[in-house]
């Protein structure tokens, strides 16, 4: 799980970064790069950054698979206090059906994330990743 090595970002600081990508697999790497960049603000250790990159990649891959053709994925990376949260959404190709999680994907997510939720509503699908959390600044 994700833990910080120091209090690089004050516990009351808020970092809110938005990213909008074409909902294609060729842009997954950009979502991972941004995840690592935001994580670096908290000076997370190497394993923790890897956990975040993997979790964002796996969840965005599910959104790409369920996205409407030509759609975009809108992501928000939020660093606040002692936790980091990633939210993402895209227009769905299949209406109000949340993406199914293949067993291997679920296995990976359960190992690298403290918590996540996949949802479907109003013609969109999305996720909230709460796994990117580290110990309170000391």
């Amino acid at each position: 799980m994700i833990q910080s090595m120091s209090d690089h970002v004050a516990s009351d600081a808020v970092v809110d970064v938005q990213l909008s990508l074409p909902a294609t697999s060729s842009h997954l790497r950009l979502a991972r790069v941004m995840a690592a960049g935001v994580a670096s603000l908290g000076q997370l250790d190497y394993d923790s950054v890897e956990d975040l990159r993997i979790a964002v990649d796996e969840l965005c891959t599910l959104l790409v698979q369920g996205a409407a053709p030509g759609g975009r994925i809108d992501l928000v990376y939020r660093l606040a206090g002692d936790h980091l949260e990633v939210e993402a959404r895209t227009a769905s190709r299949a209406g109000a059906v949340a993406p199914a999680v293949p067993s291997l994907t679920g296995q990976i997510l359960s190992a690298v994330a403290d918590g996540y939720e996949l949802w479907a509503a109003d013609g969109h699908i999305g996720f909230t990743l709460r796994s990117a959390r580290w110990a309170a600044a000391t």
Partner: protein, 110 residues
């Protein structure tokens, strides 16, 4: 090494010596890139040497898409009495295999 691929984000090099195919993969293995690796290595796993050794020291990222392709290649090789073995794993790659319980299976321990 032969058969370099032109994919900008991943490169797969294959050298065949008898019944051993030594493969070097460079880049990141995700849903976008892994198809290229699969395209290059599936014919080897189906009709080439039965021993496939993959040097993944230059693989900077791998996700479930990459692991599924590796498992598929291994399945093809095992069906022919062969083996797939990952070598020179980065700490991140090794950790992911450990987390998923695939470390022994994909490093040729069993």
């Amino acid at each position: 090494m032969t058969d370099p691929t032109a994919h900008p984000l991943v490169e797969t090099l294959v050298a065949i010596d008898g019944d051993v195919a030594s493969v070097k993969v460079r880049g990141e293995l995700d849903a976008h890139t892994v198809g290229e690796v699969e395209r290059v290595l599936t014919p080897v796993a189906e009709d080439g040497p039965t021993q496939l050794v993959l040097d993944v020291s230059d693989v900077g990222f791998v996700d479930s898409s990459g692991l599924r392709v590796l498992l598929g290649l291994r399945r093809r090789l095992v069906a022919r009495g062969g083996q797939l073995r990952l070598v020179e794993l980065s700490s991140a790659f090794r950790r992911l295999l450990d987390l998923t319980g695939l470390l022994d299976e994909l490093t040729g321990v069993r």
